[in-house]
C-alpha cells in the first residue's frame, strides 16, 4: 500500500472556491432564461382528506395566469417515489399531509400567482388525522395509502442467539425508552428548479438537485420520456444533507410537466416557509431498549423495539430503518440480540434521508444506555465500552465478522479519552451532584404547587453552573450496503496541453467532493489540482452512479476516479516503456506536472509535453473508470448478513456547562476522533467534522420541528433555530487513519459519522453534570428542567 503521498492528505483549496467567494457560482435561482415563467403551488388547509373537486373558476380567466397544471396533465405515472410509488406529483385522490400540492399556477408574475393560489377552491372530505405512529398501527385506524393495505411501511427484524437465555444469564436488566424529533435539514438554499423544453431533444432540467440520476428516472416516468431525452443538470447546490432528493425529483417533474404544456422554460423556487412545509425531515424515533448485563459489565442480551415515523410518504424509510437495524446495538459484541425496527405512515411531514440516515437516533439511545450501565456498575463510561466494544474479528449483531479492515473502535476511544483527560474529569464531575435541578423534583404536581417557589428552593449564585463530560462511540457501515446497487463511474480526459477534464457520476453537494476527486487524479498522474477542470454534472455525460448519499462519494466515486486515472497511467506507462525503450524494472514517476524515469534524469518530460507527445502518437488520453462495491448480502427475515463491505469508527467527547436554573446547556468543547480511513483533503475533512458536530449540537439541544395537526409550527429560521457562530465552543478534530482494502488508498467515509455521535455525547455530558438522565431529544431548556416539552395549543407565533 502506498505510504507517501504528494497531494493526498494535504490541505487543498476547493476548486469551486473562487467562484463561491466572488459571488460568481451559479445556484439554481441564479439561472434565467428568455421567456421563462414561474410555477406557484396550490395547497389546501387540510391534513388528511379526500379531494372531491378542484375549482379554478375564480382565477382561471385572470390575465396573470398562463395555464394551470394538475394531475390531469400528467401523461406518465401520476404517483412516484424512490422506493414505493405512493407520492403523487399533484395530489388528486387524497391530501395526506399539509405540504401536499394539488396544482401549480403558471405565469410571469410570481407574486400575483401567490395571491391567486389562495383563491383556488378545493372541495374536501376530511378524514381522521393520524399523528401518532403507534396509533397509526391500530386495527381501526384509517389507511393513509389504502392501496398498500397497511400503515406499516416496513418491518426489519434481526434475531441473533437466544434472547431469553441471554436475559436469564444476566445479573441485571435495564429497560429504557428514548425519543427523537422531526429535524429539518435547514440547507441555506431553498429548493429551486428550472425546466427548459428542447422540442425533439427532450427536456433540460437545472436545479438544486442532490441526485440527478434519481431525478431523471422520476421525471422520465412522469412525462413518459425515455431516459436519454431527460437531461438533468446540477446547479451549484446550496447545502443538502440528504434533503434535496425526493422533493427535488417531484419539483423537477412538476416543472417538466408545465414546461412541456406551455413550451416555455418554467422556474419553481420555494420560499423558506414552503421549503419547510413540504420538504421531508429526519425520522422521529421511539426506541425501547432492554438490556441484560453481568456484574462484570458484559452485555449478555439486548432487545430493541423501534418505531419510526415515516410520515405521509414512504420515501427512504425502508433504507433508513435498515441502517438502524444493522447498527442498533452499537459497536458492541452481544451474543443475544432481538431487534425490530418498524417504519409507519402517519399524516405528519414525510421523512427520508438526512445526514446520519437512521444512526443519530439509535446512537442517542444506545450510548445513553451504555452510560447508565456504567453508572449502575460503578465503572467509568470508557470502561463499559472497552469491555464490550468491537475488536478485530468481532462479530456484529447480524453475524458479520469484522476482519477485512482495521477495527479501530478502541483506538478512537482511547485517543479521545487521552486527549480530553476523560476519566479524571468524569469522576470529578460525578462528585458534584449534590444540588439537583430544582424543578424536576416537583414536576408531578406542578400545577397544584402554583409554580411559586419557597425560599429554600432558590439556588446560591455559585451553584448554578455544573460542568459535565460525556462520550459516545459508533461504528458505521460505509456506502449503501445491502440497501442497493453500489457502483460509480468517472470520466477523465487529458487534453493535449496536459490539462484535464474530470467528471464523476456522483454529485457535489457542497461537501467538496470535486476537489477530493481532483486530488486523487493529481496523486496518480501528477497533474496539478488547479489544472483539472471539473465538468458540470449532467446525466447526459456520465454513467448513472447511483445517489450521492450514505457518505459514499469518497469511497465509491473516489474509487471510480482512481480507476479512471489508473487506466490512463497504465496506458501512459506502456506507451513510455515502448517510446523510451525502458527495462521491466524501470520506474516511471508522475509527479509535480512531470513524467520521468527514476534514476534516469535524461528521461523526463513536463506533463504538457508528455500529453502532446502521447496525443501525436495516437494514444487515447481519456478513460471511463468504474468502481463496483464488493458483494454483500442480507437475509430480510432474520437480519443476518454482511450488511456493509466495510465500516468506519468514531468517538466524540463533549464537555458542557449546564445552568440548572434556566436549563441552558453550553457546549464548551467537542473532541471528535474519527477513523475515516485515508484522509484525501485535510481541509475538507476538517470542514466535515466542524460542520457535522455543529449540526449534532443543534440536534442535541435546540432543534425540533413541532407539529400542530401535522403542520410544522416552525416554518422559518426565527422559529426553527439552528446553531449560530456563538453557540458552539471549541471543536477538536482528530483523525485515526485505519487501513482498508476498499476505497481510494483506504479512504472511506466521514460526513455522517461526524454528526451521528454528538447528541449522544452531549446527553451523557449533561448527565455527568447534573446527575439526571434525559431520554428525549432535544435536551432543550424545558427538557432540562422539566423532563418534558411544553407546547402552545395553537400555531400562534410569539413567546408567551
Amino acid at each position: 500500500m502506498k505510504e507517501k503521498f504528494n497531494v493526498v492528505g494535504k490541505p487543498v483549496i476547493r476548486e469551486d472556491g473562487k467562484a463561491k467567494v466572488t459571488g460568481q457560482a451559479k445556484f439554481a435561482d441564479d439561472y434565467k432564461f428568455p421567456n421563462m415563467i414561474f410555477g406557484v403551488m396550490v395547497r389546501t388547509k387540510a391534513t388528511h382528506a379526500i379531494i372531491k373537486k378542484i375549482d379554478y373558476s375564480e382565477i382561471e380567466n385572470d390575465k396573470h395566469i398562463i395555464t394551470i397544471v394538475d394531475a390531469k396533465d400528467i401523461k406518465g405515472l401520476k404517483k412516484t417515489g424512490l422506493i414505493r410509488k405512493d407520492q403523487p406529483v399533484f395530489a388528486f385522490e387524497k391530501i395526506v399531509t399539509p405540504g401536499d400540492v394539488v396544482a401549480m399556477l403558471l405565469g410571469e408574475d410570481e407574486d400575483k400567482l401567490r395571491l391567486l393560489a389562495k383563491k383556488v377552491k378545493v372541495e374536501l372530505e376530511e378524514l381522521p388525522v393520524l399523528n401518532d405512529p403507534e396509533k397509526a398501527l391500530n386495527e381501526d385506524s384509517p389507511l393513509i395509502h389504502p392501496e398498500f393495505g397497511s400503515n406499516l411501511i416496513v418491518h426489519h427484524p434481526l434475531r441473533k442467539g437466544d434472547i431469553e437465555k441471554g436475559f436469564a444469564e444476566s445479573d441485571f436488566i435495564l429497560e429504557q425508552t428514548y425519543t427523537t424529533p422531526h429535524i429539518e435539514h435547514a440547507y441555506l438554499e431553498p429548493e429551486c428548479v428550472i425546466a427548459i423544453p428542447l422540442g425533439e431533444k427532450g427536456i433540460h432540467i437545472i436545479g438544486s438537485i442532490q441526485n440527478p440520476f434519481t431525478a431523471r428516472r422520476i421525471v422520465a416516468e412522469v412525462i413518459n420520456y425515455p431516459l436519454n431525452k431527460v437531461k438533468i443538470e446540477q446547479a451549484e447546490l446550496g447545502g443538502s444533507f440528504g434533503g434535496k432528493d425526493d422533493l427535488m425529483c417531484i419539483l423537477s417533474a412538476r416543472a417538466a410537466v408545465a414546461a412541456l404544456k406551455t413550451n416555455r422554460p418554467v422556474k419553481i423556487r420555494y420560499t423558506r416557509e414552503e421549503s419547510i412545509l413540504e420538504s421531508y425531515k429526519r425520522h422521529p424515533y421511539r426506541m425501547h431498549y432492554k438490556v441484560g448485563y453481568t456484574k462484570d459489565g458484559k452485555i449478555k442480551a439486548m432487545k430493541i423495539d423501534i418505531l419510526a415515523d415515516g410520515g405521509a410518504y414512504c420515501s427512504m424509510t425502508p433504507f433508513v430503518t435498515w441502517r438502524s437495524v444493522v447498527q442498533a446495538t452499537g459497536p458492541y459484541e452481544i451474543e443475544n440480540v432481538w431487534t425490530d425496527v418498524r417504519g409507519v405512515y402517519t399524516n405528519n411531514p414525510y421523512t427520508g434521508a438526512m445526514r446520519g440516515f437512521g444512526s443519530p437516533q439509535i446512537i442517542f439511545a444506545q450510548e445513553s444506555l451504555m452510560d447508565d450501565i456504567a453508572v449502575h456498575l460503578g465503572i467509568t463510561p470508557d470502561e463499559i465500552r472497552r469491555i464490550n466494544g468491537y475488536r478485530q474479528g468481532s462479530i456484529t449483531a447480524s453475524g458479520q465478522r469484522l476482519e477485512n479492515h482495521e477495527v479501530n473502535l478502541l483506538k478512537v476511544l482511547d485517543t479521545a479519552c487521552n486527549e480530553t483527560n476523560f476519566r479524571e474529569k468524569w469522576i470529578e464531575n460525578e462528585k458534584h451532584h449534590n444540588r439537583r435541578i430544582p424543578t424536576i423534583e416537583f414536576k408531578e404536581n406542578i400545577l397544584k404547587r402554583n409554580l411559586i417557589l419557597s425560599k429554600n428552593e432558590f439556588i446560591n449564585p455559585d451553584d448554578i453552573i455544573k460542568k459535565g463530560i460525556g462520550l459516545a462511540v459508533s461504528f458505521r457501515g460505509s456506502s449503501l450496503g445491502a440497501e442497493g446497487i453500489d457502483a460509480a463511474a468517472s470520466y477523465l480526459s487529458i487534453q493535449n496541453d496536459g490539462s484535464a477534464y474530470l467528471l464523476c457520476g456522483l454529485a457535489e453537494n457542497g461537501q467538496g467532493m470535486r476537489t477530493a476527486y481532483a486530488i486523487i487524479v493529481s496523486e496518480i498522474l501528477g497533474i496539478p489540482v488547479e489544472n483539472i477542470y471539473y465538468l458540470e454534472m449532467t446525466t447526459a455525460h456520465i454513467p448513472d452512479s447511483g445517489p450521492t448519499v450514505a457518505s459514499r462519494s469518497t469511497i465509491m466515486g473516489g474509487g471510480a476516479v482512481k480507476n479512471s486515472a489508473e487506466i490512463l497511467r497504465k496506458r501512459f506507462e506502456d506507451f513510455l516503456k515502448d517510446y523510451w525503450k525502458l527495462n521491466e524494472n524501470d520506474l516511471i514517476v508522475f509527479e509535480n506536472n512531470e513524467v520521468y524515469v527514476k534514476g534516469k534524469e535524461n528521461l523526463k518530460l513536463s506533463f504538457p509535453e508528455f500529453a502532446n507527445l502521447a496525443y501525436k502518437n495516437g494514444i487515447c488520453l481519456s478513460s471511463i473508470g468504474w468502481y463496483p462495491g464488493p458483494k454483500i448480502h442480507w437475509e430480510e427475515e432474520t437480519g443476518h448478513g454482511s450488511a456493509y463491505f466495510t465500516y468506519v469508527y468514531g468517538c466524540q467527547v463533549a464537555e458542557v456547562r449546564v445552568n440548572i436554573i434556566t436549563g441552558e446547556v453550553y457546549v464548551d468543547r467537542v473532541t471528535a476522533v474519527h477513523d475515516p480511513g485515508k484522509v484525501i483533503n485535510l481541509l475538507g475533512a476538517l470542514g466535515q467534522v466542524y460542520g457535522g458536530v455543529t449540526q449534532g449540537v443543534g440536534y442535541a439541544i435546540f432543534e425540533e420541528l413541532d407539529k400542530h395537526n401535522g403542520l410544522p409550527r416552525e416554518l422559518n429560521f426565527d422559529q426553527y433555530i439552528i446553531p449560530t457562530s456563538k453557540d458552539v465552543g471549541e471543536i477538536i478534530p482528530i483523525f485515526v487513519e485505519g487501513k482498508d482494502e476498499f476505497g481510494p488508498w483506504g479512504a472511506k467515509s466521514l460526513g455522517e459519522p461526524t454528526l451521528e455521535l454528538t447528541a449522544a455525547a452531549i446527553n451523557n455530558a449533561i448527565r455527568n453534570a447534573v446527575g439526571e438522565r434525559y431520554f428525549n431529544l432535544p435536551v432543550n431548556l424545558e427538557e432540562v428542567l422539566l423532563k418534558r416539552k411544553l407546547r402552545p395549543e395553537d400555531l400562534k407565533r410569539g413567546s408567551l
Partner: protein, 162 residues
C-alpha cells in the same frame, strides 16, 4: 387587488463604486433589485425575514439584510455587494483567506458571510474572536460549523483595505 395607482420610485445610488440612477416599483426589495434587475446574483435569498444573513450587503458602511431594505430606501446611499469586493481582478484578503482556511463548503452563505466580516474589519481592524463571532451571528451556515470561517476572518485582520 387594490385599484389605486402605484408610483415608481426614482433612486440614485452608488453600487460597487459606480453611480446608478434607476426607477423601480416601490415594493421592490433591494435584494430583488440586485438579483433581478441588475443581475448581481451573488447576493442570496435564504429566509426573506432577516434571520439567515445570506442576503447581506453593505449599505453606507454597515452590514444590512437586503431582504429587509426597500428600493426607495437606498436613495443617495452607497451599496457594496460581493461582486464589488475584489479589486481589479484581485481577490480581497478576506476572499483569499476564506479559500485558504477552508471556510467555504456549499458557498450559499459565503457572500453574506464575507460582507459581514468586511463591515466588521472596516471599523475594527483587529477584532478578537468573540467580536468576530458576534459580527457573523446573523449569518447562518449549515455546512461549516463556522470554525474555518472564524479562522479566515482572524487571519484577515489588519490587512483589510477599510
Amino acid at each position: 387587488m387594490k385599484s389605486k395607482s402605484i408610483k415608481k420610485v426614482k433612486v440614485k445610488f452608488k453600487l460597487n463604486g459606480k453611480e446608478l440612477e434607476l426607477e423601480t416599483k416601490p415594493n421592490k426589495r433591494l435584494l430583488d433589485l440586485l438579483r433581478d434587475d441588475l443581475n448581481l446574483t451573488g447576493t442570496k435569498e435564504g429566509c426573506s425575514i432577516g434571520e439567515c444573513g445570506a442576503c447581506t450587503v453593505i449599505m453606507n458602511g454597515k452590514a444590512v439584510n437586503s431582504c429587509l431594505v426597500l428600493a426607495g430606501e437606498i436613495n443617495n446611499s452607497e451599496i457594496i455587494t460581493i461582486e464589488g469586493i475584489a479589486q481589479n481582478g484581485n481577490l480581497h484578503p478576506l476572499q483569499e483567506n476564506f479559500l485558504k482556511y477552508g471556510a467555504v463548503q456549499c458557498g450559499f452563505c459565503t457572500p453574506g458571510m464575507i460582507l459581514s466580516a468586511y463591515a466588521l474589519l472596516r471599523v475594527n481592524p483587529e477584532p478578537d474572536e468573540e467580536t468576530i463571532k458576534e459580527a457573523i451571528a446573523g449569518n447562518l451556515c449549515r455546512c461549516t460549523g463556522y470554525k474555518q470561517i472564524i479562522e479566515a476572518i482572524k487571519h484577515s485582520t489588519k490587512i483589510t483595505d477599510g
